[in-house]
């Protein structure tokens, strides 16, 4: 079974036409990979479907805009995957 990161990296490569080898857990989706907000919505849609979750993008955006967390918290892929794992774990059985 593919890891969360492998699944997310494949989604990003497919959605944004980025070479898979350039996508690492340390990559920042915006600063390193150049993903814009519209592409990120497509990525979020694919992640929601793949993991059967609903990523709280609006809440995360508010937290970043309010200065409560840095963009690294949600846009560095390793961190994003940790949040995805938490959402998956929190799903009702």
């Amino acid at each position: 079974m593919a890891s969360t990161f492998e699944t997310v990296a494949d989604i990003i490569a497919d959605t944004c036409d980025i070479e898979r080898d350039k996508i690492t857990p340390e990559s920042h989706a915006i600063n390193d990979l150049g993903i814009d907000s519209l592409d990120f919505l497509d990525i979020a849609f694919a992640i929601d479907k793949s993991f059967a979750i609903k990523m709280p993008l609006e809440q995360w955006t508010r937290e970043v805009n309010d200065g409560k967390v840095s963009t690294e918290e949600y846009f560095v892929l390793g961190n994003l995957c940790k949040h995805i794992d938490l959402l998956v774990a929190a799903k009702p059985a």
Binding site: L38, L41, D42, A44, F45, D48, K49, K54, M55, P56, L57, E58, Q59, T61
Partner: protein, 157 residues
């Protein structure tokens, strides 16, 4: 429909917020300035306006889901198929189903048909955000009431 004003949906026939479905009725006008150019001597509804009709049908559904707290804006049309010409005077039946209620975005599948025959279909995605201003929100609430939008979907809880 008033094509030149981009008013595509005449009436909401059914809207089931819980099921995430909507059906609309859209009467193609017999005459419109649009038909002067599209096409001379062969008036047909432009494919772009078929897509707009599907997007607006789905848009009313998303507005119902949001209870008018936010507004959907078209961001992506996926797998669009325009299957046949639509002539002036035809009645289009719109239908849309919410397939994904994301955080800050929504995805629907939409179809328009006439006489039971599928005319066009597409997956349509929207980003969902605040109304740009009070004027547009008021105009949309007015239009919603005009076309039979359920009153209980007009106000956020």
């Amino acid at each position: 429909m008033i094509l030149e004003y981009f008013q595509m949906v005449d009436r909401i026939v059914a809207l089931d917020r819980k099921a995430g479905t909507i059906r609309t009725s859209c009467q193609v006008p017999t005459q419109s300035p649009v038909f002067v150019g599209h096409f001379p001597g062969f008036p047909r509804l432009p494919g772009a306006l078929m897509i707009e009709t599907m997007a607006q049908t789905g848009g009313w559904l998303v507005l119902a889901q949001l209870k008018f707290a936010k507004m959907p804006f078209l961001t992506r049309v996926e797998s669009a198929k325009l299957r046949r010409f639509v002539e002036p005077g035809e009645t289009l039946d719109g239908a849309a189903t919410l397939t994904h209620d994301g955080s800050g975005f929504a995805v629907i599948e939409s179809v328009i048909s006439t006489g039971g025959q599928k005319v066009a279909s597409a997956e349509i995605r929207y980003v969902v955000g605040p109304f740009p201003n009070d004027t547009i929100r008021a105009a949309m609430v007015f239009k919603a009431r005009e076309i039979g939008f359920p009153e209980d979907c007009l106000h956020a809880e």
